[in-house]
């Protein structure tokens, strides 16, 4: 129950003591596993600076939105992290549940990389190669008659690619990374095939079916995104590739390396400049109603959007977050200061 929240507690400056936290009033954050490392870093800094307790659970973007939009009550998640934008369906759920006002905050960019062990040969690829390697169904003739993906080795797609069995460890369908990978890399790759490009204009649903579905015949293996096992698997299986966020690559740059996609290597600069094609924005969402009821909630968001955190040279950059351009930073900072709800 909220009967014990004190109105003064949400203005920390007025209080010289460490604010007393009542159970149920701590800041609860759920959502993306990609944003999780950034989120816990901010949580930790924020806790040090203000003393507020923050709880971050990594549930995947989809799971986060689901929990977040379930109910407007106190005690439900105050914030959800997302490695993609909230979907219309999810936003609708939030509204249906009676959540009045969701503030959207974009915090930066993250690339999605295709990486392999640092000692393995480079597999540079085009987005079309990505599509052909990972789609469930691919065109089997020039008229885009779709059939099960026949490719089993990289060299079957392009001669210059290595003669390795296709074996990719990638995010599961619940993850925002997967959504983004499908929507950016695979879709763009599909459009590089003329008849599919045609189809994308004429029959959107059919195109989605053709471009968005990842193969399930064992060449793509769903795995965790930020885990020890993935790095181990890649280092031990020189022929395998992994699909995950740039920040994770950055953290493990001594063991894995990212492949060129299209023309660009996945580097900080290339992602910032947009030269690396497969990148997406990272977000978090706040329940506006909870601001004022959950002490420290707004302050947390302010900390996240501060220059010291997500600005250039901020401490999130150290762990692989690519900052937003100045204008956007200012825009979202303002959204946080004034708690401006967004609409789809």
């Amino acid at each position: 129950g909220g009967d014990t929240s004190t109105p003064t507690a949400n203005t920390p400056a007025a209080n010289t003591e460490v604010p007393v936290q009542q159970s149920g009033n701590e800041i609860r954050i759920v959502g993306s596993s990609t944003v999780y490392p950034f989120s816990i870093k901010v949580a930790q800094e924020f806790k040090n600076k203000t003393g507020y307790n923050v709880i971050v659970e990594s549930t995947g973007s989809g799971g986060g939105h689901k929990l977040f939009c379930d109910s407007p009550k106190l005690g439900t998640p105050n914030v959800t992290n997302s490695s993609r934008r909230q979907k219309a369906s999810e936003f609708g759920k939030c509204m249906d549940a009676g959540i009045e006002g969701v503030v959207e905050v974009k915090i930066g960019y993250d690339g999605i990389v295709v990486a392999n062990a640092i000692d393995s040969p480079v597999i540079d690829m085009s987005m079309k190669d990505i599509y052909l390697a990972f789609a469930k169904n691919v065109p089997i003739d020039d008229n885009c008659t779709m059939g099960p993906n026949p490719y089993t080795r990289w060299s079957e797609i392009e001669d210059f690619l290595p003669d390795y069995r296709i074996e990719a460890y990638g995010p599961p369908p619940t993850s925002g990374t997967r959504d983004a990978f499908v929507e950016i890399a695979m879709e763009k790759g599909a459009k590089e095939i003329p008849c599919l490009a045609e189809m994308s204009k004429t029959d959107k649903d059919a195109f989605k079916q053709a471009a968005h579905i990842v193969r399930e015949d064992g060449y793509w293996i769903d795995s965790g995104e930020n885990d020890n096992a993935l790095v181990q698997t890649l280092t031990n299986t020189p022929t395998a590739v992994g699909v995950f966020g740039y920040s994770f690559l950055e953290q493990n740059s001594d063991k894995v390396k990212g492949a060129k996609v299209g023309e660009a290597k996945p580097t900080f600069e290339n992602i910032a400049s947009g030269a690396y094609p497969v990148s997406r924005s990272l977000y978090f969402y706040i329940k506006k109603d909870h601001v004022g009821q959950v002490p420290g909630l707004q302050e947390y968001a302010l900390e996240f959007t501060s220059e010291a955190a997500s600005g250039p040279g901020g401490y999130l950059e150290e762990i692989g977050l690519v900052p937003l351009p100045d204008a956007e930073r200012t825009k979202y900072r303002k959204a946080v200061v004034d708690m401006i709800p967004y609409s789809q």
Binding site: T4, T59, K66, Q209
Partner: protein
């Protein structure tokens, strides 16, 4: 949640204690006035009149507590809490005073108190049934919803596991294959490896300790084996992931073939190590239960110890050992952390232990940590898997427990 209900409960405890002492002392005074307990012809002693009062306070108090919890408005303030507290105190006082009318020589306070104790004990025993009921209901309800989306026979006999239904309206739906055969096969494969490790080792340890070892060896080895039983499975998982997996990989590489770090073999071996103590201690019980007269009978025919063991004791203990193995199998099937950490998530349908496979428990964890959507087959599948797991282990356990129990009785 606020802490006020906890304070109310604590206060209720205090009221019970106070009620006990007040009425015990009242009873004691009346009892002594009557010339002492038995001599005075009192049915129950003073303290039982006290207990009787305390029970009364407890019952009324709990009713008020639960009532208060349920009528408490969302913004329950000081006013409500004071009223709640006052109600509790008043009711307790009334019970204490009311109970004093019962402090008579012929009032069977002890009988009532003991009946109340028994009632509580019965309720505690029923918790076991309720737990099972809760398990079955929570699994069955969600599973039922799952099977409305995915036909049972597709789930049980389908060869492809790829729980990728679209979770949102605007997501491109993938096929969402819910054929559980590959994950049962994976579970079975790992269990098989584990039993191949744990079976012989556990059994031989039991035999050696019960038939050959000196008391000294026994006193060292037994606790050490028990340590293996006490190690949490998350530790085994870490061990499998960080030590055993890489070791097997390096070893296989030196032999010229590649085993992934996460493989059925490494998860199975580590699970086997974990199960060794279970088998050894159960088999030890069973072997020790074989009467000495059978050993004597065999030795008296000129058999050696190992001949006696292999041909007589083992034959006698076989049902019990089978029971022990079944329990171990059920344990292996239900084990979670080791496989979550060391087996991988790839639903390969393979009999090759050097490949990565996935298990029922891994899939449950994978489906339920993180993204959950309680009307999607993907999340509900976890409960269907849980149900199957529960049923399998239930059957194994009941068979095993029956065998072991009947076996024990055989020599009693």
């Amino acid at each position: 949640m606020t802490n006020f209900p906890v304070y109310i409960l604590a206060l209720l405890g205090l009221c019970m204690i106070a009620g006990f002492f007040v009425n015990r002392n009242t009873a004691r005074t009346r009892l002594i006035a009557a010339g002492g307990g038995r001599e005075g012809g009192w049915h129950s002693q003073a303290s039982y009149h006290g207990f009787f009062t305390a029970w009364g306070v407890a019952i009324i108090g709990l009713i008020i507590f639960i009532f208060g919890l349920n009528v408490a408005p969302d913004d329950a303030g000081v006013g409500f809490n004071v009223a709640w507290l006052a109600a509790l105190l008043a009711a307790s006082g009334a019970v204490v005073i009311g109970a004093q009318r019962f402090i008579r020589s012929d009032f069977r306070a002890r009988t009532y108190v003991e009946r109340a104790i028994l009632a509580v004990l019965v309720m505690l025993s029923i918790i076991a049934v309720l737990t099972t009921f809760g398990i079955v209901m929570s699994l069955a309800f969600e599973s039922w919803r799952f099977f409305q989306k995915v036909p049972l026979n597709e789930f049980l006999f389908g060869l492809q596991w790829s729980p990728q239904t679209a979770l949102r309206a605007d997501q491109a739906g993938s096929s969402g294959a819910f054929g559980a055969v590959p994950i049962f096969a994976g579970t079975f494969l790992i269990m098989l490896v584990a039993m191949l490790v744990a079976g012989p080792i556990g059994l031989m340890i039991a035999i050696y300790l019960s038939e050959y070892a000196s008391p000294r060896t026994r006193s060292i080895v037994k606790p050490a084996v028990e340590i293996l039983a006490g190690i949490p499975t998350v530790v085994y998982g870490f061990f499998a992931l960080l030590t055993v997996g890489p070791t097997i990989r390096n070893f296989s590489e030196s032999l010229g073939f590649a085993v992934p770090t996460q493989s059925a073999i490494s998860a199975g071996i580590v699970m086997g190590i974990m199960i060794v103590p279970l088998i050894s201690s159960l088999s030890d019980d069973v072997i020790s239960a074989v009467p000495q007269s059978l050993r004597d009978g065999s030795l008296a025919l000129g058999a050696t110890k190992s001949e006696t063991m292999k041909k007589v004791i083992f034959a006698g203990a076989l049902p019990g050992i089978i029971g022990a193995f079944l329990l171990a199998i059920s344990r292996a099937i239900g084990e979670t952390m080791i496989v979550v950490m060391a087996a991988g998530r790839a639903a390969n349908l393979t009999a090759n232990p050097f490949e990565a496979v996935t298990t029922v428990t891994v899939q449950i964890v994978a489906l339920l940590t993180g993204d959950q959507e309680f009307d999607s087959a993907k999340t509900l599948a976890a409960f269907a898997l849980g149900l199957v797991l529960f049923v399998i282990t239930l059957v194994l356990n009941v068979i095993a427990l029956t065998i072991v129990r009947r076996y024990r009785e055989q020599y009693d």
